[in-house]
Subunit: 203 residues, 2 copies
DNA sequence: AAATGATTAAAATATTTGTTTAATACTTGT
DNA sequence: ACAAGTATTAAACAAATATTTTAATCATTT
């Protein structure tokens, strides 16, 4: 005993993740999840106590995955500013290519339940104390960093990385950007974004 | 007769707009709307036929407002590239300050119901034919615009404008950006974003 | 083989939630 | 003031959906 058949539990979780990220909590039906996972409806409640519970687990894991790796880079003493920018752009674009719905999912949750986030994820790791932040200020120099709030550069970095994925349907319909072109562009952005950010710093 | 008590109908619509934009369609309950508008539940169906109907009306109006003004700038023959960038940044940041939840709302809707959008809003106005697009290509010059897909610059422009509002809770909790600082930064970005974009073009 | 746990189908239950109804109050034109 | 139309309300209804239960079957372990 105790050899929990993970296969089934994992199947549910995987399916739930897909559907929750696609449609959000309220629009997702437990029946959808069961059907997608190809298991009996009752098993959703058998393994996870409730839909709410299942959602929380997935949400937490997603957020952890999304932010914890980011934190490592932000607080890495060894790497230079340059290296950090390249690492962040590259790693996050790869992550987003494999999980393109995650950012909207997380940003929605952040908007509707900001409190939870504070406790469980951010955990007081203020990015203003990060090595990256210090390196930006240092590179800007005292005069420029007085004029240009370094937080702008954080917003820009995140926005340049994430927004194409969030706004993808828009670019698809309003600009005719298809899968192939999109993927190519995302690869290009791994190199472009660090350059753009550096230009903003040195301009 | 015929003096439709607009006060009530408008109250419902206003409340619905707030809540729909905050929580999305599925997560919004007609009771939430009624309560927020401080009117009887039945009036929602009395004035609007159904929740779905009410939503469509609001969605359409929001999207129209959001995109139609943008189109005007994009297709304006009279203004220069420089002027367009300034106008877009300025006008959109102002709009987003007054309706900060709109982008997430629209992007969510775009993700879950792309079809509706195509027909009713975009209406075949391909941005690649816009004056702005041509002006960007022109300014880039033939060699650069071969290397750097101009769509990148659209993504960047939109992302730089919109993302701070979408990611606001994140910047709040992870970087301690409070209301006052945020507003100040958004004002600054009206001038900064055009500069950044121009740097990307000329770099 | 017995026991235990996992899975299924089906039904029952409970809750949430969009919509409708029927009665009442209100407004307006005459 | 009255009648007709309109607005508003409380309550009921109906449909969707999360959850639980039951009984039976299958799989694995002891």
């Amino acid at each position: 005993m105790m050899s929990t058949n993970e296969s089934t539990e994992e199947k549910i979780k995987a399916s739930a993740k897909v559907i929750f990220m696609q449609k959000g909590f309220a629009a997702t039906k437990t029946r959808d999840i069961a059907e997608h996972a190809d298991i009996n409806l009752a098993l959703v409640n058998y393994y996870f106590r409730s839909k709410e519970n299942l959602f929380q687990q997935i949400m937490m894991e997603s957020m952890q995955g999304f932010f914890s790796s980011m934190m490592k880079v932000f607080f890495d003493e060894a790497s230079s500013l340059d290296e950090k920018l390249n690492t962040l752009a590259s790693a996050y674009i790869d992550m987003l290519i494999s999980q393109p719905n995650m950012p909207l999912f997380i940003l929605n949750e952040l908007q509707s339940n900001p409190e939870k986030f504070v406790k469980k994820v951010s955990a007081g790791a203020h990015l203003k104390n990060s090595v990256l932040f210090k390196q930006i200020i240092e590179t800007l120099g005292p005069d420029k960093s007085a004029k240009l709030n370094p937080v702008h550069l954080f917003m820009n970095l995140m926005g340049l990385i994430v927004f194409p994925f969030i706004g993808r349907p828009m670019f698809h319909f309003a600009m005719g950007v298809e899968q192939k072109e999109f993927n190519k562009m995302m690869q290009e952005r791994k190199e472009l974004i660090p350059i753009w950010i550096k230009d903003m710093i040195s301009a």
